[in-house]
């Protein structure tokens, strides 16, 4: 995927970034430079991978260190819209409007487009997707897979250079997963996929294994994923699920 032109060299950089809640560390001293086109971040529940996504997205600020997207601070969300799009795990947490048309137009309006131009862009996109009849549909009546797809469309419409995907396949049936994976593969953007499932990041250029808020392994999927899968199987057999957090 290198050389698509939309991926810049600076990418996402973390320098000594840490995040703690009430003194309890969630992420500790991460230093990473992410420039590849397809990046996977794997880890168990509670390993800090969703916090890492929120940090990169500028939704939380690091308690120590710094995060930069293409050299800029992600906390300024308005300025970040062209750089970074976020696809949340649960579409119900993301959809803000009663109808599909309003939902899609919102992002463009946020980027300063007029109402007419936003509406025209939405119609064009839906027509190109073969879903022109969705414009007036109520978001609440879409199926789970359709809602997920709507969220992806609303991110794509804003044409960010990087898209953060949080467990993009969770809760979707297999045909929907396959369709979505095909769609991801054709995108010119840099994709950062966060998942507990090694299969979701198997085709990435680079995989980072996050464990207890630190990088445990970092490299091509062929190196990182076999070790990750073996470790997950070992923990699963050891019945290590009885500890309570915090």
């Amino acid at each position: 995927m290198a050389g698509t032109g939309t991926i810049t060299e600076q990418g996402i950089t973390l320098s000594g970034a840490s995040y703690a809640v009430a003194g309890r560390p969630i992420l500790s001293g991460l230093t990473l430079s992410l420039t590849e086109a397809r990046i996977g971040i794997v880890g168990r529940n509670g390993s800090g991978k969703t916090t890492l996504l929120r940090l990169m997205a500028g939704l939380v600020a690091p308690t120590e260190g710094a995060v930069r997207i293409e050299g800029a601070d992600p906390a300024d969300r308005k300025a970040m819209l062209r750089h970074l799009g976020i696809l949340f795990q649960n579409p119900d947490h993301m959809i803000l409007f009663p109808t599909v048309g309003e939902e899609l137009a919102f992002g463009l309006r946020q980027m300063g487009e007029s109402a007419e131009r936003a509406a025209a862009a939405v119609d064009a996109l839906l027509a190109a997707e073969g879903r022109a009849h969705w414009a007036k549909a109520a978001t609440a009546t879409l199926s789970q897979g359709q809602r997920h797809y709507l969220c992806l469309l609303s991110v794509l419409l804003m044409r960010p250079r990087t898209i953060l995907l949080d467990e993009p396949f969770a809760g979707l049936d297999l045909p929907t997963q396959a369709r979505l994976a095909r769609r991801f593969a054709t995108l010119p953007q840099r994709l950062v996929t966060i998942s507990h499932d090694p299969a979701a990041v198997a085709t990435a250029d680079r995989v980072i294994w996050l464990d207890a808020g630190r990088v445990r392994a970092d490299g091509p999927p062929a190196d990182v994923l076999p070790a990750f899968t073996a470790e997950m199987a070992r923990i699963g057999e050891a019945d290590a699920d009885a500890d309570l957090a915090g």
Partner: protein
């Protein structure tokens, strides 16, 4: 979203919403100035003829919207018959029914989006105290979006309670329902910020 706007297209649908609202204000003021049954009855009769001219189906929907008034109609009717003042009672009832029906007529013939546009216009001066018309429109959209979500959540909560208890869920749904609304509010705030904020 189910609204009270009538799906039966009438010529009144095409009038500007602002004009209809202004007309309604004027009509209500006039109704409260009239205080004898004959002119009020004439107003109600005119309104009824207007409804019938817009179609039988339209008129019967309008009639159904007046049903919730019956307890008040009953109380006032008995009250004034008891006091032997049927004319005073008729004045009050005719005024009540006519005013409510006139207001319902505007609601039935004005689309939600047109109504929201008028409200944004009326609210424009509030910009000075920090309430932009854009955040108002956003708040309206958010509330409509989350009505079915919260309603469904409430159903799930009461099913979850009943699955583990022989009793009806009753008031015990209230705490989890409030917590669900509070959680959703945090998620929505985050989703808004992810897409550039509400400013």
């Amino acid at each position: 979203m189910l609204t009270l706007t009538s799906p039966v297209e009438t010529p009144l649908h095409r009038l500007p919403a602002g004009a209809k609202l202004a007309g309604l204000c004027l009509a209500t003021v006039v109704l409260f100035r009239l205080d004898s049954p004959v002119p009020l009855g004439a107003c109600l009769a005119m309104l009824a003829v207007l409804h019938l001219a817009l179609g039988l189906r339209f008129a019967s929907t309008a009639l159904r919207l007046l049903v919730p008034l019956w307890p008040f109609v009953l109380v006032i009717a008995f009250w004034h018959l008891w006091l032997g003042e049927p004319a005073a009672g008729a004045t009050i009832l005719l005024r009540l029914v006519t005013a409510v029906a006139a207001a319902n007529l505007v609601t039935m013939t004005t689309r939600l989006s047109d109504m929201v546009t008028v409200i944004e216009k009326i609210a424009a001066p509030l910009r000075r105290i920090g309430l932009s018309p854009r955040s108002l429109a956003l708040a309206i959209a958010l509330a409509i979006r989350f009505l079915p979500v919260l309603s469904q959540r409430m159903g799930q909560i009461s099913e979850a309670l009943r699955a583990r208890s022989p009793r009806r869920a009753g008031y015990r749904v209230l705490i989890p329902a409030c917590l669900a609304a509070l959680d959703d509010a945090e998620h929505v705030a985050e989703a808004l910020r992810a897409r550039g904020g509400a400013g």
